[in-house]
Symmetry: C2
Subunit: 251 residues, 2 copies
DNA sequence: AATCCATATTTGTATGATAATTCGACCAGA
DNA sequence: TCTGGTCGAATTATCATACAAATATGGATT
């Protein structure tokens, strides 16, 4: 009952992750996010996928289960798998967000991100100022120190990400954690685009320091202001992106 | 190679959804969220789960894939499945949020929700005022009309949820959509707890109307204010919850 | 026209087998 | 003693096959 011979396993891009079912999920996921299969559309059935990828049904089904769990699909007997409406997609899932970015105009994407960041990060900073534990404050501080010491370039992105994630953790509200993925994706990809992740190197460190100090002092109001201040810098970076930039690299 | 006889399939709570692998995922997911298996812990291996639930390995693996896709697990050869750190959990996934609520103090949960809602919803309303399409405005309006006509009781929850979700959609930012699940879960469960989902019936409709009017006029500032105004009402509801309320009912 | 029923299609579950990965222990040599 | 390699065992990963269950669809019956 396994359609197709097993001789074409390398017929699609070998995205990250060594598991076959993962690769299938990534391939199908990318197709959904890029609109090959629109919401409401019926996907090829399991037997078809088996032929297309030269994989067993077991593997195909595991890939489908993965996508179902992320809200992209729903399967029904005799019908097949149907693409779910967009509002059910777990867009803040790491994979889904990556697939989303891969098929989007970067400027548009970064605009959406900034819109959300400007809503959340000031309040996150404020909450962190109020709710941080000593340990969390130490994590923020260490990330900042690593930022300061890092040479401008690739290795300065990681501490920057850690800084923002540590801040997020210090807000101590589980319902906010999913945004970590968004922040991470935004900072990392912005760097890959601009190659200079800190457009105003002179202001970059001081502005982060402003947040750190406010959080250290437990001054929510100042933290909020400092976070917003930093974000307006990022806005300028976005604005300078080439309008017709290509799609982000896949996975 | 399938351990255990298939005679104890009903040994666990029959959660919603008719699929066996779904039930397994729910059962295991609940155990993770309730702390039976903490982050970093190694779960029973596939053969164990087969014995425990009397299911085939195929089914167990599909359940595990589901949980992996939601960020709760990660599987490695020779190691087994390990519970991921909390920050990787897709807490805004419908299932994960349900499992989370099922093993939490409701007051604590609602507090977290309100904290996030007070950050987001005013800004969502503001964005909706600016970005709404005519169609989206119609959806908001219709939800409001249904609210007004509904008798106070169970059937007034649904239009209320629709109102807030329509508002969210009208903000026109995909990265915000995951919060729909949170809003929905919050409103629905709050009703189940208080049995009177609108504590100030006199103010309930007018305050929603305030948001609608501001969004209709395209007045972002007024929309923001109206949304915040409504949320302070909800705060009062939360505050009145019995401090030692039992866990939320499961699934 | 409406109802019911058979059938075909598709996903759901079970079983058993083999492959691939890799931890951990043991061993050899410097 | 330390280093590195080798090998065995545990566990997930994949495959192949079979049957069960659900249900949309079209045809038969009334």
């Amino acid at each position: 009952m396994n359609p197709g011979n097993s001789s074409q396993k390398a017929s699609f891009a070998k995205s990250g992750g060594s598991n076959l079912h993962r690769k299938l999920a990534q391939s199908i996921g990318n197709q959904i996010l890029s609109g090959v299969y629109a919401p409401g559309a019926i996907l090829p059935n399991e037997a078809d996928w088996c032929r297309i990828y030269g994989a067993s049904r077991t593997t195909v089904r595991e890939a489908v289960k993965t996508l179902t769990a992320k809200g992209l699909l729903k399967s029904r007997t005799k019908i097949g798998s149907r693409v779910e409406p967009r509002e059910n997609w777990n867009i803040l899932d790491r994979d889904v967000l990556a697939w989303h970015m891969a098929s989007m105009n970067p400027q548009e994407f970064f605009f959406s991100v900034q819109e959300v960041r400007k809503i959340l990060e000031p309040e996150i900073a404020a909450l962190a100022a109020l709710n941080r534990t000593p340990q969390q404050l130490r994590a923020i501080t260490e990330a900042f120190e690593d930022m300061r010491q890092a040479k401008p370039g690739l290795n300065s992105v990681a501490p920057d990400v850690r800084f923002h994630l540590a801040l997020l953790a210090a807000a101590n509200n589980v319902l906010l954690t999913p945004f970590g993925i968004m922040i991470e994706a935004a900072l990392t990809n912005m760097f890959e685009f601009t190659s200079t992740h800190n457009p105003e190197p002179d202001m970059f460190i001081p502005k982060h320091e402003g947040i750190l100090k406010a959080v250290t002092r437990g001054n929510a109001k100042a933290a909020r202001k400092a976070a917003l201040n930093l974000l307006t810098d990022t806005d300028h970076t976005i604005a300078r992106l080439p309008a017709k930039a290509k799609k982000l690299k896949k996975a």
